[in-house]
Structures are given as structure tokens and as C-alpha cells.
């Protein structure tokens, strides 16, 4: 099921209708039933995995909360975290052990004794798992008591508009929102539908246009010029952005229909001046999660137990982003992605003072923007290919200017000029005019202009794409 597709939107509208038809005290029941129901509709295994994680974390948090001594709380938290991580590794990274077995069996020349499990990753697994881990931390820290209502907990962990790929919601914000009475408000509907429409447009139209341009560059052995491959590399990053931010807008808009304000995941990421600035603007709910629940405790632990020097902070940031990379999947590609991010962020920390001086002048700022984008564009390629051999070959081919295909005549590729211009216009509009806040931008327009804008989006969604809906890239993580 595609979150921008008619089945999801139809399901969403039916649930919203049921939600406002029942009294307030049953509204979380509707959300919980719809969330589990949607997972079961897609695959019973998805619903089963979700319920196991939910029940495990629901009871673990009550257990942690029942302990009053710090040491006991600490032990209970540790056990709960270990249980969750074991489940995460078993389901998401099950083949790591098979691959390790492969390495040894190749070395020893014997058959691999560890079978490949090839389990289908349940929809949204890492997203609700991370929310559950964050929840355990908050209960341990006594930010709030353990949730006593299983219905509320299911609604918090599995709220279906965010089940596909986040945003990661914090228990400190979302659980209290679930306990607040919600009434039918026109503004919620109006803003919700605007966000959904804008999100579907980005997801379906822009992302598909980009996909149709870059498609040939990623076909192995295709005769694509180096320059076209470079352009595809930049456009691929933009495709990931339009798809993921489009999906996030759909999730945020859907949340608004139920009366919730979900976490913003993007804030003009292409205007970032440095990589650390970039991660404050890109997949914000994940990067802040990593900072709060991995980086902060880790750096504290290192500075208290090992050394309070700068290298401790650097090591913490490197490990945190390495883990963020591995969160995407058990492939060397993601390890390399995490290592690139972690290393550069660590360098940024030690060079903060000298960089501040450079960033104060316009040329330095431009250099900052360009280098940040270049780093991300290059590292994003590790998401596109199946393994790092493929990625390296791809780079080799893109940079091979001795290849006759790399001439500037582009004889192998017709430049899709109209789509490129449209994508450029979208990019300027999205980053400089809308600034990841379509609701605010539309609020300032008059009704005629607003409806013209809606009509344009609806028409483009229905009749403006050349190919059908592609699966969401981030859904696979």
C-alpha cells in the first residue's frame, strides 16, 4: 500500500469519519483498531510483529516504573532495551549472522552453517521500535509515568498515518495529546487537507518526474554520459527529499485531521551551511532521537568514565551516526553512509572555531552550502545501489571522462528540458517561498488564488505523471 495512493487516502477518510462519529472517550479506540487493522490488511505478519513489540514495551515500561531504586530501574531498563534490540536485530538484521557465517565459510572452505532467514521486514518496524525505545528511556527518566491504557499505547506507537516511515513521535508529546479531548475543528481539516495535497503532489508528481529522468543512469551497463550521471546523482537526492518530505506532509496532514500536530521532519535542508546544520533540517525526528537517546548518554558516559576531552565527543558523534546508518539496514552501504556522516560531523566539531570565522563572510557561507550538499549528494548514492561494489563502480563510470559517452554532446540521452525546468521551479518555490510550511503560505493567499493552486495540484497529481506510483524509499528502512 502506498501512503499517497487512493487506498490509503480512502482508508484515512473512513477512519476520520468513524473517529468523529464516536464520543471522545472512544476516539483512541478507533485509532488503535484502525492502526492494527491497516497492518493486518497489508499483511497479518505486520500486525503480529507490531502487537508483540507493543505488548513487550507496554509491560516493560510498567515494570521499570514499579522499581523505585535507581539501580533496579537501571537494570530493568537495560533488560528492556536488550529485549528490544534483540528483536530488532532478529527481525531487521537477521541476515547479518548469515553473512558473517559466509565470511568464515569462505575462509575455511566449508558450507555456511547459518541459514539465511530472509524475513519480510514488517511495515514501520524500525520506526515504532525506536519510538518504543525512546518511551522506555522517558519512563526510566521519570519524564512521565508508564502508560496504563493499552489502547492509548497502541495509538501512540502505531498511529497509522505515521506507520510507514515516521515521523518518530516522542511519548512526552504524543501520549499527553492522546489524552486531551479532541473536537471537530474546521482549521484542522483545512490545514490537514492542504498538507496532504501538497505531500501527494511532491510524492507522486515531482518524485516521478525525477525518477523518469534518472532511471537510465542507474541501469547497469547503460550508455549514459558522465555528466548525465552527475546530474542524476543530484536529482536522486532531490527525489529522496520530495518523496520523503511528501510522505511526511501526508502524515502530518493526516495527523491534523485527527487533531494532532505531529513532528516536523524537514526544514529547508538544502539551505544548510554545514553537515551538522543539515541534520538539524533533514529527518529531524530521527536525528534528534539519535542525539537525545544515543549521543547524549554516550558522550556523558565517555566524559565521566573515560575522558572529558574533545575526542570523546568526536567518538560519540561518530558512533551515533554510524548507528544511524546501520538503522537503515544491514548492508555495508549503510555502514559507509553512517561513517561518512559521523566522520565529517566529528571534524566539524573540532573545527568549529575556525569555521565560524569563515561562515561569517558570504563566500564562506556559499562554500559551506556547496560542500554540505556535495557530501550529502555523494553519500546518498549509497542508498540507491545494492552494495558498495555497485556504488563504487557507479562513481567510477560517472567520473570516467575518457569514456566517449562522457562527451558534452549527450548523444545517448535526450535532456528532458521541460521536466528539468519544472523541477527547478518546484525546488525554488519549495525551499525559498514555501519554506516547508505550505499551510502558512496558503493562509496568506486569497480564496481564488488558493483554489487555483489546489486545482493545479489536483490536476498534476491525476494527469501529470508518466508512470505509476513507486514504493516509498524510506518505507524499506
Amino acid at each position: 500500500m502506498n501512503p499517497a495512493g487512493p487506498y490509503f487516502i480512502g482508508f484515512l477518510l473512513a477512519v476520520v469519519l468513524a473517529y468523529y462519529l464516536v464520543p471522545n472517550r472512544f476516539r483512541n479506540h478507533v485509532i488503535s483498531m484502525a492502526s492494527v487493522g491497516l497492518l493486518a490488511w497489508i499483511d497479518l505478519w505486520f500486525a503480529g510483529a507490531f502487537l508483540v513489540v507493543t505488548l513487550m514495551n507496554f509491560s516493560a515500561a510498567i515494570w521499570i516504573d514499579s522499581k523505585h531504586q535507581l539501580k533496579q530501574r537501571h537494570q530493568a531498563l537495560l533488560l528492556s532495551l536488550l529485549g528490544n534490540i534483540a528483536l530488532l536485530v532478529a527481525i531487521k538484521h537477521s541476515n547479518i549472522f548469515h553473512r558473517i557465517g559466509d565470511l568464515f565459510s569462505n575462509w575455511l572452505g566449508s558450507p555456511n552453517p547459518i541459514p539465511a532467514l530472509n524475513w519480510i521486514l514488517p511495515l514501520g518496524f524500525s520506526y515504532y521500535m525506536f519510538q518504543a525505545l525512546g518511551y522506555q528511556f522517558e519512563v526510566y527518566r521519570k519524564s512521565h509515568p508508564a502508560e496504563k491504557s493499552l489502547i492509548n499505547f497502541i495509538a501512540f506507537l502505531g498511529f497509522f498515518p505515521k506507520i510507514f516511515a515516521g515521523p518518530l513521535e516522542r511519548s512526552t508529546g504524543f501520549l499527553p495529546a492522546l489524552k486531551t479531548p479532541r473536537v471537530l475543528e474546521y482549521d484542522n481539516f483545512s490545514h490537514g487537507f492542504r498538507l496532504i495535497l501538497w505531500g501527494v503532489f511532491k510524492f507522486i508528481v515531482i518524485s516521478n518526474w525525477i525518477g523518469s529522468i534518472i532511471e537510465t543512469s542507474y541501469i547497469p551497463d547503460s550508455e549514459t554520459s558522465g555528466l548525465y550521471m552527475m546530474l542524476s546523482m543530484v536529482l536522486y537526492t532531490l527525489q529522496v527529499y520530495t518523496e520523503f518530505s511528501g510522505y511526511t506532509d501526508i502524515a502530518l496532514g493526516s495527523g491534523r485531521l485527527f487533531g494532532f500536530q505531529l513532528t516536523q521532519n524537514f526544514r529547508q535542508p538544502f539551505l544548510a551551511k554545514s553537515l551538522s546544520d543539515f541534520w538539524r533540517r533533514w529527518h529531524i525526528s530521527l536525528s534528534t532521537w539519535v542525539m537525545d537517546y544515543i549521543y547524549t548518554p554516550l558522550s556523558l558516559w565517555i566524559s565521566l568514565r573515560i575522558s572529558p576531552r574533545k575526542w570523546g565527543i568526536m567518538a560519540s558523534i561518530f558512533i551515533s551516526f554510524l548507528l544511524l546508518g546501520i538503522w537503515h539496514g544491514s548492508s555495508w552501504n549503510f555502514v559507509i553512509f553512517g561513517m561518512i556522516q559521523g566522520s565529517i560531523l566529528a571534524i566539524e566539531i573540532i573545527s568549529l572555531r575556525s569555521r565560524k570565522k569563515h561562515l561569517s563572510n558570504p563566500l564562506g557561507r556559499i562554500a559551506g552550502h556547496i560542500s554540505t550538499m556535495a557530501i550529502f549528494v555523494v553519500s546518498a548514492q549509497f542508498f540507491k545501489t545494492n552494495n558498495y561494489h555497485e556504488t563504487l563502480n557507479w562513481f567510477r563510470k560517472a567520473l570516467d571522462f575518457s569514456n566517449s559517452n562522457s562527451s558534452l554532446t549527450f548523444e545517448y540521452n535526450q535532456w528532458p528540458t521541460y521536466h528539468l525546468i519544472a523541477i527547478l521551479i518546484f525546488f525554488v518555490f519549495d525551499q525559498f517561498v514555501v519554506r516547508n510550511n505550505i499551510e502558512k503560505w496558503l493562509d496568506k493567499r486569497n480564496a481564488v488564488l488558493r483554489w487555483l493552486f489546489y486545482s493545479l495540484l489536483i490536476y498534476a497529481i491525476i494527469a501529470g505523471t508518466e508512470s505509476s506510483v513507486q514504493p516509498l524509499i524510506y518505507q524499506g528502512f
Binding site: S455, I458, A463
Partner: protein
């Protein structure tokens, strides 16, 4: 209540916008989209004005590397019946579901005395055709635009059609079904996997099992129901229906070691013939019309040579009681 009033007002405006959008789309973009996304569109236009419409699959049009002429059965039929308007709606991968959509896309008010000649390919009941993961999604998407809905909705269905996920799920389903399907041969029930293992190395037996190893039963009901729907649709329009049962290469199974396969094929053929005869439609049984020379290969699922296709067209034109030149 005020909130509901405001929402209702916006919904009315939205309906108005959609109405205008549909008008604009139908006027300006729809014809272009038909050309672009629905390759069978021009054939549908010809079919609209034809007296006889031949609906066929690869048995009509296939012409691979061993092919001696690309003239199809329907093309021969057009030559043989040149005094009549004959159109063909044929393509590799067409299935009963595609035929039904194509027939529904024809305007019932244009041309009263139409005859629909519908290909009945024995292979259409095989598991891999029932769960076709390659052609079916592509054709389904192409046909989205000619469904009997408003054009803008058709375009939305084309945009939101997701062949990739459908393909994946169908492939998975196919794998499962392939493992579990059992058939009775010589009084013994065996799974297809077991029979394939037994037939390993014998390409004639393997290809038969791949395409024809089924017992016309529950699994094939969906396909039979689609044929029934087509017959019902054609009859409801007052058109004539002819079922054209195309050949299997039974001569290729003439070796003694393949006699159990030939018996199996003939048994299934009998079930099919009984089913369609009970439907009160004209059935042209050409399933045993061709001999080995008329097939491109020795396998039972081989396609036809140009001469084989010509023979089929000749048989058809004779049966349709039209003077043959």
C-alpha cells in the same frame, strides 16, 4: 454544525472543480493520453466499426525467432473474408480479463450485428497465466483509460495503478501455488513439483507440465467465470458469440512415453468443450486441427507457423459460412 456546513461548502466547490477538470481533460489531454498509454486504442476504434471482431492472444500474433511470417490468424481471416469488416484485438499476454475490458470499452450502440470471435486457449487456465505477473499488470494498466468511467477517473486509475507491487505479490502467490498444486495422472495424485522432478531432462514433458498440468477445477473457476461474463456481456448487447478453441501440439506428445500427457490434455479438453457447449454459444473446436508441421516446435505449447495460422483462419472463415476465395 457550522464546521460541517463549511466542510460541505468546500466539498461542493471541489466537485465543481473536478467537473471542470474532467471537461478540460476530456477535451485536451485525453485523446493524447490514449495514444500514449493505450496502444490498443486504434484497434478499438477499428473494432467499433467492424462486423466481426477477433479477440486473440499470443496464439494469434506470436512471431518469435523461429517464425516464418508475421501474418497473424486474424490477418489471414481479414484476407479470406475481405468482403466484411474484420477487426482484431490481439496481443501477447491478453487474457479473459483483458477481453472483457476490451468488449466493455466498445460502444454497444454502434454496429448492431457484430460477431465476437473469442480465442479459447487451453493454456489460459495454467497457474502461471492465472497468476500472470508480467503481462497482466501492464495490460491492466494500459486498459485503465478505456474503462467505462469518466475520463479523469480513468486517468487517475492509470496514475495510481501499481504494477510493481502487484507483480511481486503475484510472483509470490505463483511460487506458493506451484508448490502445492496436485494433479491426478494415471490414477495417482502427485504435486506438480514431483512430476517436474520426474520429467527432468525431458523438455517436451517439462513444457507440457509448465503450461497444461492442471485439472480443470476450483483454481480455474475464476478464469471460467470471466469467460462466462464475456459471453453474458456479448449476448446482452445482442451480438453473436463464437468461441475459437485454438490448438495444442498433441502430435508432439505422440511418443509412447508421453501418452499419459496426451490423455491428460484430451480429458481437460473434453471438460472445457462441455462447459462452453452448455453456455449455448457456437464453439469452433480447432484444438486438434493442426499437425506437427504447423507448429514452430515439438513442444505441446509451441506456437503456430504461418501455414498453421492460415489453416486456422481458413477453418474459421468456412465455419462462419462466408464464401472463401
Amino acid at each position: 454544525m457550522r464546521v460541517l456546513q463549511r466542510i460541505s461548502l468546500k466539498l461542493i466547490v471541489l466537485l465543481g472543480v473536478l467537473f471542470l477538470m474532467n471537461w478540460a481533460y476530456s477535451e485536451w489531454q485525453y485523446p493524447e493520453d490514449l495514444e500514449k498509454y493505450t496502444p490498443m486504442h486504434s484497434e478499438l476504434e477499428s473494432a467499433q466499426l467492424a462486423d466481426k471482431i477477433y479477440l486473440g492472444d499470443c496464439s494469434d500474433v506470436y512471431c518469435g525467432s523461429a517464425c516464418d511470417s508475421d501474418t497473424s490468424v486474424s490477418a489471414f481471416l481479414k484476407i479470406l473474408m475481405n468482403d466484411q469488416k474484420i477487426a482484431a484485438l490481439s496481443a501477447n499476454g491478453y487474457q479473459p480479463s483483458s477481453y472483457l475490458t476490451l468488449i466493455k470499452a466498445l460502444d454497444s450502440k454502434v454496429g448492431e450485428d457484430k460477431t465476437i470471435i473469442l480465442t479459447l486457449n487451453h493454456r489460459a487456465f495454467a497457474d502461471h497465466i492465472l497468476l500472470d505477473w508480467y503481462y497482466k499488470p501492464i495490460i491492466e494498466q494500459q486498459l485503465s483509460l478505456v474503462q467505462t468511467r469518466i475520463p479523469l477517473l480513468n486517468r487517475a486509475m492509470l496514475t495510481f495503478y501499481d504494477p510493481s507491487s502487484k507483480r511481486e505479490s503475484l510472483t509470490l502467490a505463483k511460487t506458493e501455488q506451484w508448490k502445492n498444486t496436485s494433479i491426478e495422472i494415471n490414477g495417482k495424485t502427485k504435486t506438480i513439483a514431483m512430476l517436474m522432478e520426474k520429467a527432468a531432462g525431458d523438455s517436451v514433458a517439462t513444457s507440457y507440465l509448465e503450461d497444461f498440468a492442471f485439472v480443470m477445477g476450483e483454481a480455474q473457476r475464476e478464469q471460467l467465470a470471466l469467460f462466462n461474463d464475456i459471453i453474458h456481456e456479448v449476448k446482452s448487447r445482442g451480438w453473436k458469440m463464437v468461441i475459437h478453441y485454438v490448438p495444442i501440439n498433441l502430435d508432439g506428445l505422440s511418443h509412447e512415453k508421453h501418452s499419459w500427457l496426451k490423455d491428460h490434455a484430451l480429458e481437460q479438453r473434453q471438460i472445457l468443450l462441455q462447459h462452453f457447449k452448455a453456455m449455448d454459444v457456437q464453439v469452433l473446436d480447432h484444438s486438434t486441427l493442426l499437425s506437427q508441421d504447423d507448429f514452430l516446435g515439438i513442444k505441446s505449447n509451441s506456437h503456430y507457423t504461418a501455414n498453421g495460422k492460415r489453416k486456422l483462419a481458413l477453418g474459421l472463415s468456412t465455419a462462419l459460412k462466408v464464401p472463401v476465395e
